[in-house]
Protein backbone atom coordinates (compact mmCIF):
# COMPACT_ATOMS: atom_id res chain seq x y z
CA UNK A 1 0.00 0.00 0.00
CA UNK A 2 1.49 3.35 -1.06
CA UNK A 3 1.55 5.74 1.90
CA UNK A 4 0.10 9.20 1.39
CA UNK A 5 1.68 12.61 1.97
CA UNK A 6 0.59 14.97 4.76
CA UNK A 7 -1.41 16.96 2.22
CA UNK A 8 -3.45 13.94 1.16
CA UNK A 9 -4.68 12.61 4.50
CA UNK A 10 -7.62 13.85 6.59
CA UNK A 11 -6.85 16.57 9.16
CA UNK A 12 -6.10 15.42 12.70
CA UNK A 13 -5.76 11.69 12.02
CA UNK A 14 -9.52 11.33 11.58
CA UNK A 15 -10.70 8.26 9.68
CA UNK A 16 -13.38 9.29 7.21
CA UNK A 17 -13.94 6.13 5.18
CA UNK A 18 -15.46 3.02 6.66
CA UNK A 19 -13.98 -0.45 6.21
CA UNK A 20 -10.31 0.30 6.58
CA UNK A 21 -9.85 -2.42 9.16
CA UNK A 22 -9.74 -4.69 6.09
CA UNK A 23 -6.88 -2.69 4.55
CA UNK A 24 -4.63 -2.81 7.58
CA UNK A 25 -3.13 -6.26 7.86
CA UNK A 26 -2.86 -6.64 11.60
CA UNK A 27 -2.00 -10.34 11.52
CA UNK A 28 1.69 -9.55 11.91
CA UNK A 29 0.99 -8.19 15.42
CA UNK A 30 0.24 -11.66 16.71
CA UNK A 31 2.54 -13.69 18.88
CA UNK A 32 0.82 -17.00 18.16
CA UNK A 33 -1.66 -17.91 15.45
CA UNK A 34 -4.50 -20.49 15.75
CA UNK A 35 -4.29 -23.79 13.88
CA UNK A 36 -7.48 -25.79 13.28
CA UNK A 37 -7.58 -29.55 13.47
CA UNK A 38 -10.32 -30.20 10.90
CA UNK A 39 -10.76 -33.77 12.10
CA UNK A 40 -11.72 -32.62 15.61
CA UNK A 41 -13.84 -29.62 14.43
CA UNK A 42 -17.60 -30.27 14.68
CA UNK A 43 -18.50 -27.04 12.83
CA UNK A 44 -20.33 -25.57 15.81
CA UNK A 45 -18.91 -22.14 14.79
CA UNK A 46 -18.57 -20.82 18.35
CA UNK A 47 -15.13 -19.59 17.36
CA UNK A 48 -16.63 -17.43 14.61
CA UNK A 49 -18.97 -15.61 16.97
CA UNK A 50 -16.29 -15.31 19.68
CA UNK A 51 -13.57 -13.81 17.44
CA UNK A 52 -13.27 -10.06 18.26
CA UNK A 53 -11.54 -9.39 14.92
CA UNK A 54 -13.96 -11.19 12.59
CA UNK A 55 -10.91 -13.12 11.45
CA UNK A 56 -12.59 -16.53 11.36
CA UNK A 57 -14.89 -17.36 8.48
CA UNK A 58 -16.42 -20.43 6.92
CA UNK A 59 -15.77 -21.51 3.38
CA UNK A 60 -18.38 -22.82 0.91
CA UNK A 61 -18.13 -26.33 2.33
CA UNK A 62 -18.80 -24.98 5.82
CA UNK A 63 -15.23 -25.51 7.02
CA UNK A 64 -13.76 -23.04 9.52
CA UNK A 65 -10.99 -20.87 7.98
CA UNK A 66 -8.68 -18.49 9.82
CA UNK A 67 -7.87 -15.12 8.19
CA UNK A 68 -4.22 -14.94 9.25
CA UNK A 69 -3.87 -11.42 7.80
CA UNK A 70 -6.20 -10.06 10.45
CA UNK A 71 -5.91 -12.48 13.41
CA UNK A 72 -4.13 -10.74 16.28
CA UNK A 73 -3.59 -14.03 18.10
CA UNK A 74 -5.72 -13.38 21.17
CA UNK A 75 -6.56 -17.09 21.52
CA UNK A 76 -10.23 -16.65 22.46
CA UNK A 77 -11.22 -19.13 19.71
CA UNK A 78 -9.04 -21.83 21.24
CA UNK A 79 -10.57 -21.16 24.67
CA UNK A 80 -14.20 -21.37 23.50
CA UNK A 81 -13.79 -24.42 21.23
CA UNK A 82 -15.70 -27.29 22.95
CA UNK A 83 -13.86 -29.93 20.88
CA UNK A 84 -10.37 -28.55 21.59
CA UNK A 85 -9.87 -28.40 17.84
CA UNK A 86 -7.95 -25.11 17.88
CA UNK A 87 -4.33 -24.88 19.01
CA UNK A 88 -2.38 -21.63 19.27
Amino acid sequence: MKLKSWKEIPIGGIIIDAGNSQENKTGSWSDKQPQINTEKCTKCYRCISACPEKAIKKDKAGNVVIDHDHCKGCGICAQVCPSKAIKM
Binding site: K4, W6, I9, I11, G12, G13, I14, I16, A18
Partner: protein, 388 residues
Protein backbone atom coordinates in the same frame (compact mmCIF):
# COMPACT_ATOMS: atom_id res chain seq x y z
CA UNK B 1 -22.83 53.92 19.30
CA UNK B 2 -23.83 50.83 21.19
CA UNK B 3 -20.70 50.95 23.34
CA UNK B 4 -21.26 49.91 26.89
CA UNK B 5 -18.67 50.51 29.60
CA UNK B 6 -18.72 48.31 32.68
CA UNK B 7 -16.37 47.75 35.61
CA UNK B 8 -14.93 44.27 35.35
CA UNK B 9 -11.97 42.30 36.63
CA UNK B 10 -9.93 40.35 34.11
CA UNK B 11 -11.77 37.25 35.29
CA UNK B 12 -15.10 39.00 34.85
CA UNK B 13 -14.07 40.11 31.36
CA UNK B 14 -13.24 36.50 30.44
CA UNK B 15 -16.62 35.31 31.76
CA UNK B 16 -18.41 38.09 29.87
CA UNK B 17 -16.68 37.03 26.65
CA UNK B 18 -17.58 33.39 27.33
CA UNK B 19 -21.20 34.42 27.81
CA UNK B 20 -21.27 36.13 24.42
CA UNK B 21 -19.54 33.20 22.72
CA UNK B 22 -22.15 30.99 24.40
CA UNK B 23 -20.29 27.65 24.24
CA UNK B 24 -22.51 24.57 24.46
CA UNK B 25 -20.33 22.89 27.06
CA UNK B 26 -18.02 24.27 29.78
CA UNK B 27 -16.31 21.59 31.88
CA UNK B 28 -14.38 23.26 34.68
CA UNK B 29 -12.38 22.69 37.81
CA UNK B 30 -11.59 25.62 40.10
CA UNK B 31 -8.04 26.78 40.85
CA UNK B 32 -6.75 30.10 42.15
CA UNK B 33 -6.56 32.63 40.47
CA UNK B 34 -8.70 31.31 37.63
CA UNK B 35 -11.65 30.42 39.90
CA UNK B 36 -13.56 33.74 39.55
CA UNK B 37 -13.80 33.19 35.77
CA UNK B 38 -15.87 30.06 36.24
CA UNK B 39 -17.64 31.44 39.31
CA UNK B 40 -18.88 34.42 37.31
CA UNK B 41 -19.81 32.07 34.51
CA UNK B 42 -21.66 29.68 36.85
CA UNK B 43 -23.67 32.64 38.13
CA UNK B 44 -24.54 33.65 34.58
CA UNK B 45 -25.86 30.13 33.98
CA UNK B 46 -27.81 30.19 37.27
CA UNK B 47 -29.28 33.57 36.33
CA UNK B 48 -30.36 32.22 32.95
CA UNK B 49 -28.12 34.63 31.02
CA UNK B 50 -26.34 31.88 29.13
CA UNK B 51 -27.49 28.35 28.32
CA UNK B 52 -24.14 26.52 28.41
CA UNK B 53 -23.97 23.11 30.04
CA UNK B 54 -21.47 23.34 32.89
CA UNK B 55 -19.81 20.06 33.81
CA UNK B 56 -18.30 19.98 37.29
CA UNK B 57 -15.45 17.52 36.87
CA UNK B 58 -13.06 16.01 39.41
CA UNK B 59 -9.79 17.36 38.01
CA UNK B 60 -8.29 19.52 35.28
CA UNK B 61 -7.29 16.41 33.36
CA UNK B 62 -10.99 15.55 33.27
CA UNK B 63 -11.95 19.16 32.51
CA UNK B 64 -9.85 19.20 29.36
CA UNK B 65 -10.88 15.64 28.45
CA UNK B 66 -14.58 16.53 28.70
CA UNK B 67 -13.97 19.71 26.70
CA UNK B 68 -12.26 17.63 24.00
CA UNK B 69 -15.20 15.20 23.97
CA UNK B 70 -17.75 17.98 23.57
CA UNK B 71 -15.79 19.80 20.89
CA UNK B 72 -15.19 16.55 18.97
CA UNK B 73 -18.92 15.87 19.16
CA UNK B 74 -19.39 19.06 17.16
CA UNK B 75 -20.01 22.05 19.44
CA UNK B 76 -18.06 24.95 20.91
CA UNK B 77 -16.56 23.99 24.27
CA UNK B 78 -14.48 26.13 26.60
CA UNK B 79 -12.67 25.82 29.90
CA UNK B 80 -10.23 27.81 32.05
CA UNK B 81 -7.30 27.05 34.33
CA UNK B 82 -4.09 28.16 36.04
CA UNK B 83 -0.75 26.81 37.23
CA UNK B 84 -0.95 23.24 38.56
CA UNK B 85 -4.31 22.84 36.83
CA UNK B 86 -2.78 23.57 33.45
CA UNK B 87 0.12 21.29 34.31
CA UNK B 88 -2.30 18.48 35.11
CA UNK B 89 -3.90 19.00 31.67
CA UNK B 90 -0.54 18.57 29.93
CA UNK B 91 -1.24 15.17 28.38
CA UNK B 92 -4.68 16.08 27.05
CA UNK B 93 -3.59 19.48 25.73
CA UNK B 94 -1.76 17.51 23.04
CA UNK B 95 -4.90 15.50 22.33
CA UNK B 96 -6.88 18.72 21.75
CA UNK B 97 -4.31 20.05 19.28
CA UNK B 98 -3.55 16.66 17.70
CA UNK B 99 -7.24 16.09 17.00
CA UNK B 100 -7.39 19.65 15.64
CA UNK B 101 -10.18 20.80 17.95
CA UNK B 102 -10.46 24.60 18.19
CA UNK B 103 -11.07 24.73 21.93
CA UNK B 104 -10.74 28.11 23.63
CA UNK B 105 -9.29 28.25 27.15
CA UNK B 106 -8.73 31.22 29.44
CA UNK B 107 -5.62 31.10 31.61
CA UNK B 108 -4.92 33.25 34.65
CA UNK B 109 -1.13 32.88 34.81
CA UNK B 110 0.26 31.61 38.11
CA UNK B 111 3.58 30.21 39.29
CA UNK B 112 4.15 26.45 39.42
CA UNK B 113 5.01 24.55 42.61
CA UNK B 114 7.32 24.06 44.48
CA UNK B 115 7.49 26.16 46.62
CA UNK B 116 3.72 26.45 46.51
CA UNK B 117 2.75 29.94 45.37
CA UNK B 118 -0.52 31.39 44.10
CA UNK B 119 0.82 34.56 42.45
CA UNK B 120 1.58 35.50 38.89
CA UNK B 121 4.34 34.32 36.66
CA UNK B 122 4.24 32.71 33.25
CA UNK B 123 5.80 29.33 34.02
CA UNK B 124 2.46 27.54 33.60
CA UNK B 125 1.65 28.62 30.04
CA UNK B 126 5.34 28.63 29.06
CA UNK B 127 5.55 25.06 30.30
CA UNK B 128 2.94 23.95 27.76
CA UNK B 129 4.19 26.01 24.83
CA UNK B 130 5.08 23.01 22.67
CA UNK B 131 1.65 21.39 23.01
CA UNK B 132 0.34 22.88 19.76
CA UNK B 133 -1.89 25.63 21.16
CA UNK B 134 -2.11 29.19 19.88
CA UNK B 135 -1.10 31.54 22.72
CA UNK B 136 -2.27 35.14 23.10
CA UNK B 137 -1.23 37.26 26.10
CA UNK B 138 -3.39 40.08 27.46
CA UNK B 139 -2.20 43.27 29.13
CA UNK B 140 -5.50 44.19 30.82
CA UNK B 141 -9.15 43.22 31.23
CA UNK B 142 -10.16 44.88 27.96
CA UNK B 143 -7.64 42.80 26.07
CA UNK B 144 -8.81 39.63 27.83
CA UNK B 145 -12.33 40.37 26.59
CA UNK B 146 -11.31 41.23 23.01
CA UNK B 147 -8.73 38.47 22.71
CA UNK B 148 -11.32 35.80 23.47
CA UNK B 149 -13.18 36.56 20.25
CA UNK B 150 -10.02 36.95 18.20
CA UNK B 151 -8.54 33.71 19.54
CA UNK B 152 -11.78 31.80 18.95
CA UNK B 153 -12.05 32.96 15.36
CA UNK B 154 -8.38 32.24 14.67
CA UNK B 155 -8.62 28.82 16.32
CA UNK B 156 -11.66 27.79 14.31
CA UNK B 157 -10.18 29.01 11.01
CA UNK B 158 -7.06 26.86 11.37
CA UNK B 159 -8.51 24.08 13.55
CA UNK B 160 -6.09 24.54 16.44
CA UNK B 161 -6.92 25.14 20.11
CA UNK B 162 -6.06 28.52 21.60
CA UNK B 163 -5.38 29.87 25.08
CA UNK B 164 -5.84 33.46 26.15
CA UNK B 165 -3.58 34.49 29.02
CA UNK B 166 -4.02 37.15 31.67
CA UNK B 167 -1.79 37.85 34.66
CA UNK B 168 -3.11 36.06 37.73
CA UNK B 169 -4.41 38.48 40.40
CA UNK B 170 -2.75 41.50 38.72
CA UNK B 171 -5.29 41.35 35.90
CA UNK B 172 -7.69 38.60 36.96
CA UNK B 173 -8.67 40.30 40.23
CA UNK B 174 -8.23 43.99 39.40
CA UNK B 175 -11.33 45.99 38.52
CA UNK B 176 -11.02 48.01 35.33
CA UNK B 177 -13.22 49.84 32.86
CA UNK B 178 -14.10 47.49 30.01
CA UNK B 179 -15.99 48.40 26.87
CA UNK B 180 -18.36 45.62 25.88
CA UNK B 181 -19.42 45.00 22.30
CA UNK B 182 -23.03 44.13 21.53
CA UNK B 183 -24.09 40.47 21.30
CA UNK B 184 -25.14 40.99 17.69
CA UNK B 185 -21.75 42.31 16.61
CA UNK B 186 -19.92 39.55 18.45
CA UNK B 187 -22.17 36.89 16.91
CA UNK B 188 -21.63 38.42 13.51
CA UNK B 189 -17.85 38.30 14.03
CA UNK B 190 -17.56 34.78 15.44
CA UNK B 191 -20.34 33.27 13.28
CA UNK B 192 -21.76 29.82 13.69
CA UNK B 193 -19.42 26.95 14.49
CA UNK B 194 -19.37 24.52 11.58
CA UNK B 195 -17.04 21.62 12.28
CA UNK B 196 -15.97 19.58 9.29
CA UNK B 197 -16.24 16.12 10.81
CA UNK B 198 -18.29 16.15 14.02
CA UNK B 199 -18.41 12.84 15.82
CA UNK B 200 -22.19 12.96 16.25
CA UNK B 201 -23.02 13.37 12.57
CA UNK B 202 -24.62 9.96 11.96
CA UNK B 203 -24.95 10.67 8.25
CA UNK B 204 -21.17 10.90 7.90
CA UNK B 205 -19.62 8.65 10.54
CA UNK B 206 -15.94 9.20 11.37
CA UNK B 207 -13.37 7.73 13.73
CA UNK B 208 -11.64 10.29 15.98
CA UNK B 209 -8.49 9.49 17.90
CA UNK B 210 -7.34 6.42 15.99
CA UNK B 211 -3.84 4.97 16.20
CA UNK B 212 -1.09 6.29 13.93
CA UNK B 213 2.28 4.66 14.27
CA UNK B 214 5.45 4.96 12.21
CA UNK B 215 3.34 5.23 9.05
CA UNK B 216 1.28 8.42 9.58
CA UNK B 217 1.99 10.12 12.96
CA UNK B 218 4.74 12.30 11.42
CA UNK B 219 2.40 13.47 8.60
CA UNK B 220 -0.29 14.44 11.11
CA UNK B 221 2.26 16.51 13.08
CA UNK B 222 3.36 18.15 9.81
CA UNK B 223 -0.26 19.26 9.30
CA UNK B 224 -0.20 20.91 12.75
CA UNK B 225 2.99 22.77 11.82
CA UNK B 226 1.27 24.02 8.66
CA UNK B 227 -1.82 25.11 10.63
CA UNK B 228 0.37 27.28 12.88
CA UNK B 229 1.93 28.80 9.77
CA UNK B 230 -1.54 29.54 8.41
CA UNK B 231 -2.55 31.05 11.77
CA UNK B 232 0.42 33.39 11.46
CA UNK B 233 -0.67 34.37 7.93
CA UNK B 234 -4.38 34.97 8.57
CA UNK B 235 -4.06 36.59 12.02
CA UNK B 236 -3.73 40.10 10.56
CA UNK B 237 -6.98 39.89 8.58
CA UNK B 238 -8.98 38.59 11.52
CA UNK B 239 -7.45 41.21 13.82
CA UNK B 240 -8.47 44.01 11.48
CA UNK B 241 -11.99 42.57 11.17
CA UNK B 242 -12.32 42.71 14.96
CA UNK B 243 -10.72 46.11 14.98
CA UNK B 244 -13.42 47.40 12.63
CA UNK B 245 -16.00 46.39 15.24
CA UNK B 246 -14.27 47.53 18.43
CA UNK B 247 -12.14 50.43 17.24
CA UNK B 248 -9.13 48.95 19.03
CA UNK B 249 -6.20 47.35 17.22
CA UNK B 250 -4.55 43.98 17.84
CA UNK B 251 -1.14 43.82 16.15
CA UNK B 252 0.90 40.69 16.86
CA UNK B 253 3.52 42.99 18.34
CA UNK B 254 2.32 46.26 19.80
CA UNK B 255 4.91 48.99 19.83
CA UNK B 256 5.12 52.19 21.82
CA UNK B 257 7.45 55.07 21.02
CA UNK B 258 9.64 53.03 18.70
CA UNK B 259 9.81 55.72 16.01
CA UNK B 260 12.79 57.49 17.59
CA UNK B 261 13.85 54.78 20.01
CA UNK B 262 17.36 53.40 20.24
CA UNK B 263 16.55 51.18 23.21
CA UNK B 264 13.43 49.14 23.84
CA UNK B 265 11.95 46.79 26.38
CA UNK B 266 10.14 43.74 25.01
CA UNK B 267 7.73 41.99 27.34
CA UNK B 268 4.21 40.58 27.67
CA UNK B 269 0.99 40.99 29.63
CA UNK B 270 0.47 43.53 32.43
CA UNK B 271 4.19 44.46 32.65
CA UNK B 272 3.96 45.92 29.13
CA UNK B 273 1.67 48.58 30.62
CA UNK B 274 4.17 49.38 33.36
CA UNK B 275 6.94 49.59 30.76
CA UNK B 276 4.88 51.93 28.61
CA UNK B 277 4.15 54.24 31.54
CA UNK B 278 7.83 54.64 32.43
CA UNK B 279 8.96 54.86 28.80
CA UNK B 280 6.57 57.79 28.32
CA UNK B 281 8.00 59.56 31.40
CA UNK B 282 11.60 58.98 30.31
CA UNK B 283 10.84 60.26 26.82
CA UNK B 284 9.08 63.37 28.06
CA UNK B 285 11.14 64.27 31.11
CA UNK B 286 14.60 63.01 30.24
CA UNK B 287 14.36 63.03 26.43
CA UNK B 288 15.49 59.41 26.38
CA UNK B 289 15.06 57.50 23.14
CA UNK B 290 13.24 54.54 24.60
CA UNK B 291 10.30 52.41 23.50
CA UNK B 292 8.30 49.30 24.29
CA UNK B 293 7.42 46.17 22.33
CA UNK B 294 4.53 44.13 23.68
CA UNK B 295 4.16 40.58 22.40
CA UNK B 296 0.45 39.87 22.01
CA UNK B 297 0.65 36.76 19.81
CA UNK B 298 3.29 34.52 21.38
CA UNK B 299 2.44 31.38 19.40
CA UNK B 300 2.78 31.31 16.45
CA UNK B 301 5.70 33.63 17.22
CA UNK B 302 5.77 36.67 14.88
CA UNK B 303 9.37 36.32 13.67
CA UNK B 304 9.16 38.53 10.57
CA UNK B 305 7.31 41.30 12.39
CA UNK B 306 9.91 41.27 15.15
CA UNK B 307 12.78 41.55 12.67
CA UNK B 308 11.05 44.58 11.17
CA UNK B 309 10.27 46.46 14.41
CA UNK B 310 13.73 46.07 15.98
CA UNK B 311 15.90 46.81 12.97
CA UNK B 312 16.67 50.41 13.96
CA UNK B 313 17.24 49.68 17.65
CA UNK B 314 20.69 49.66 19.23
CA UNK B 315 19.68 47.57 22.23
CA UNK B 316 16.76 45.50 23.36
CA UNK B 317 15.90 44.18 26.83
CA UNK B 318 13.72 41.06 26.86
CA UNK B 319 11.80 40.72 30.12
CA UNK B 320 10.68 37.17 30.88
CA UNK B 321 8.27 36.29 33.68
CA UNK B 322 9.43 32.67 33.46
CA UNK B 323 12.66 30.72 33.42
CA UNK B 324 14.02 27.83 31.44
CA UNK B 325 16.30 26.06 33.89
CA UNK B 326 19.67 25.37 32.31
CA UNK B 327 18.84 27.45 29.25
CA UNK B 328 17.67 30.92 28.12
CA UNK B 329 14.29 32.18 29.37
CA UNK B 330 11.49 31.35 26.90
CA UNK B 331 10.64 34.80 25.51
CA UNK B 332 14.32 35.71 25.14
CA UNK B 333 14.88 32.39 23.38
CA UNK B 334 12.13 33.16 20.85
CA UNK B 335 13.44 36.67 20.31
CA UNK B 336 17.05 35.54 19.81
CA UNK B 337 15.90 32.76 17.48
CA UNK B 338 13.84 35.20 15.41
CA UNK B 339 16.70 37.67 15.10
CA UNK B 340 19.57 35.28 14.45
CA UNK B 341 19.13 35.52 10.68
CA UNK B 342 18.25 39.22 10.63
CA UNK B 343 20.69 41.53 8.84
CA UNK B 344 20.14 44.33 11.33
CA UNK B 345 19.51 43.51 14.93
CA UNK B 346 20.02 45.16 18.31
CA UNK B 347 22.17 43.87 21.12
CA UNK B 348 19.95 41.79 23.38
CA UNK B 349 19.92 41.62 27.17
CA UNK B 350 17.78 38.92 28.77
CA UNK B 351 16.09 39.73 32.09
CA UNK B 352 14.03 37.48 34.34
CA UNK B 353 11.55 39.21 36.67
CA UNK B 354 8.43 38.69 38.73
CA UNK B 355 8.69 34.99 39.56
CA UNK B 356 6.05 33.94 42.07
CA UNK B 357 4.37 37.33 41.77
CA UNK B 358 7.39 39.42 42.84
CA UNK B 359 6.39 43.03 42.12
CA UNK B 360 7.93 44.96 39.26
CA UNK B 361 7.83 48.76 39.44
CA UNK B 362 8.37 51.59 36.98
CA UNK B 363 11.70 52.34 38.68
CA UNK B 364 12.88 48.79 37.94
CA UNK B 365 12.19 49.23 34.25
CA UNK B 366 13.79 52.70 34.30
CA UNK B 367 16.91 50.97 35.62
CA UNK B 368 16.74 48.50 32.73
CA UNK B 369 16.60 51.36 30.21
CA UNK B 370 19.51 53.15 31.90
CA UNK B 371 21.60 50.00 31.98
CA UNK B 372 21.05 49.39 28.27
CA UNK B 373 21.66 53.02 27.29
CA UNK B 374 25.00 52.83 29.13
CA UNK B 375 25.83 49.82 26.96
CA UNK B 376 26.02 47.48 29.91
CA UNK B 377 24.86 44.41 28.00
CA UNK B 378 26.00 40.89 28.70
CA UNK B 379 25.23 37.40 27.50
CA UNK B 380 24.41 36.48 31.08
CA UNK B 381 20.80 36.80 32.21
CA UNK B 382 20.08 39.61 34.68
CA UNK B 383 17.36 39.65 37.32
CA UNK B 384 14.89 42.34 38.30
CA UNK B 385 13.72 42.61 41.91
CA UNK B 386 15.84 39.72 43.16
CA UNK B 387 17.91 40.03 46.35
CA UNK B 388 21.46 39.09 45.37
Amino acid sequence: MDAKFVALTGAGAAAEAMKQINPEVVPVYPITPQTPIVEYFAKMIADGKVDSEMVRVESEHSAMSATIGAQAAGVRAMTASSSAGLALMFEVLGVASGLRLPILMNIANRALSAPINIHCDHSDSMGVRDMGWIQIYSENAQEVYDHNFLALKLAEKVMLPAMVMQDGFITSHAMENVELTSDEKIQEFIGEYQPENPLLNVDKPVTVGALQLTDYYFETKRQQIEAMKTADEIYGDLASQLSDITGRSYPKLETYGLEDAETAVLTMSSTAGTAQAIAKKLQERKKMKVGVIKVRLFLPFPQKELQEVVKDLKSLAVLDRAVSFGSTAPLAKEVKNALFDAKERPQIQSYVFGLGGREIYEKDIAKVYNTLVKGDISQEVKYIGLRE
